[in-house]
Symmetry: D2
């Protein structure tokens, strides 16, 4: 895992690597302020009834890239809403890459685009997420019962 | 697992139970034409860096309910796009229930609403999905490399 | 124009009838806390290059219903984002009805669904909007340069 | 109005200029395959109850740019669905510019991004639209009752 972050806003990958990415083997290929690139291999457990990658996992990968990109600015940010368009199916064994790019920021809000591609480059899904900053503290290891945060 | 389907359009739960639902322990509480109710317990592996349920898994649960509801009509349907709003966090151990209801159908297309709730009823996420029917065959166990379907 | 509002949260229609509704002849058939029903006739000026109602005006009608429904609670609310699905075309002369219903509220936020129908009941568009309350004051006639509000 | 279209796929602006753009004074600054830039001045009739540009008109401008961009390929394309995020208000007198760019195409489908800006460049709205091609004929002047097209 290589993390090329803006040094001024560096993110400690160990601090942000979350249980979902660890359990699914999602690799953080790049995380910087407003940007992230993650990689995930589609396993047999990720298939739907049609035998293709479940849309839920395609969204999850995009959403994870979105979360790293918007939290890499420092203050804790959460997703308010997101929209996804599914273009092509992905198969078991496919190594998918999700690339998140910040499109706009205004006040505490941000808009991020994430493209999920097959290794050969064909687009599998296009995602757009809306984030909001909820505190000035960067994400850190949090234990116990989650707070009821206002989103 | 109890499945109360419209007998005229009954769905064989064994035929449609997909690898994702099996591996995550998602229970199909009800599946009928245009409707579905699924239940999933948030595990420690489903938490994000904030210590709450990852939005990807909240979407996945809603998307799975959407898929069962739109495929219960018979012909194979796939998701074209979806939008989700996150209202409140969910915690490890929460048993979330996703309820999908068909809102409209026109030609080969459908619009479905899915609400994800905590056991006490508070809404965790609101999802809306757009489906399209791709063939006249009902979903069955599919093996091998997925076809490149036009969505 | 008949306005059947919750008396406890009554809205003065004259106070909220905005320039857009006046100039387009949009009738406020019902406005109550969390609900609104508006009617608009498609004119020749509202057609696109295909000779059907422009999607922009279908959205505008839905968005106006959404705005009345979320502002009828009292405090000023604005739209943060919205999603629309176009199901069927509408023609010049069609009297369209948009019905907005609150789906969920949490903190300062709300989720609203709006269905736009032809007079015979066929659905033309399905809209979902996300609102946020920006102040405790109800909407009133505002003149001059708009404030830069944080949305 | 200057139209700088790809000569190989040139669009006759007179053929595509639709009633909505004519009646609102929307200028087509650029139309090419997969791209369009439109300009619209916010009039007093376009204000909402808050005294700022109605979200319906912000969406309409973006949707019009989307329509020109996806129809400039030749075959008739229509919008299936769209999502919009409102970032900042616009005021009466503001000359807004909407710039549409094709993000992806697959089969008969397309995904387009449209950014609406104030003259000084601040983003007012971010729009994403999903299109589908409905016939091989380019858009032309259409009169009379619209066909019931399958979208």
């Amino acid at each position: 895992m290589s993390v090329k972050a803006d040094p001024a806003r560096a993110v400690n990958p160990a601090a942000v690597a979350d249980p979902v990415c660890r359990s699914l083997g999602i690799a953080l290929e790049e995380v910087a302020a407003g940007r992230a690139r993650l990689r995930m291999r589609i396993s047999e457990d990720m298939l739907n009834g049609h035998g293709t990658a479940h849309g839920g996992y395609l969204f999850l990968l995009a959403d994870a890239a979105f979360a790293y990109a918007c939290n890499a600015h420092g203050p804790v940010a959460v997703a308010q809403s997101a929209q996804v368009t599914f273009l092509r199916p992905a198969a078991a064994g496919d190594e998918l890459v999700a690339e998140a790019v910040e499109r706009a920021r205004y006040g505490r809000h941000g808009v991020y685009d994430v493209t999920v591609r097959r290794p050969a480059g064909e687009i599998v899904a296009e995602f757009r997420g809306q984030s909001v900053t909820v505190s000035g503290r960067p994400v850190e290891t949090v234990s116990g019962r989650p707070r009821e945060t206002t989103r």
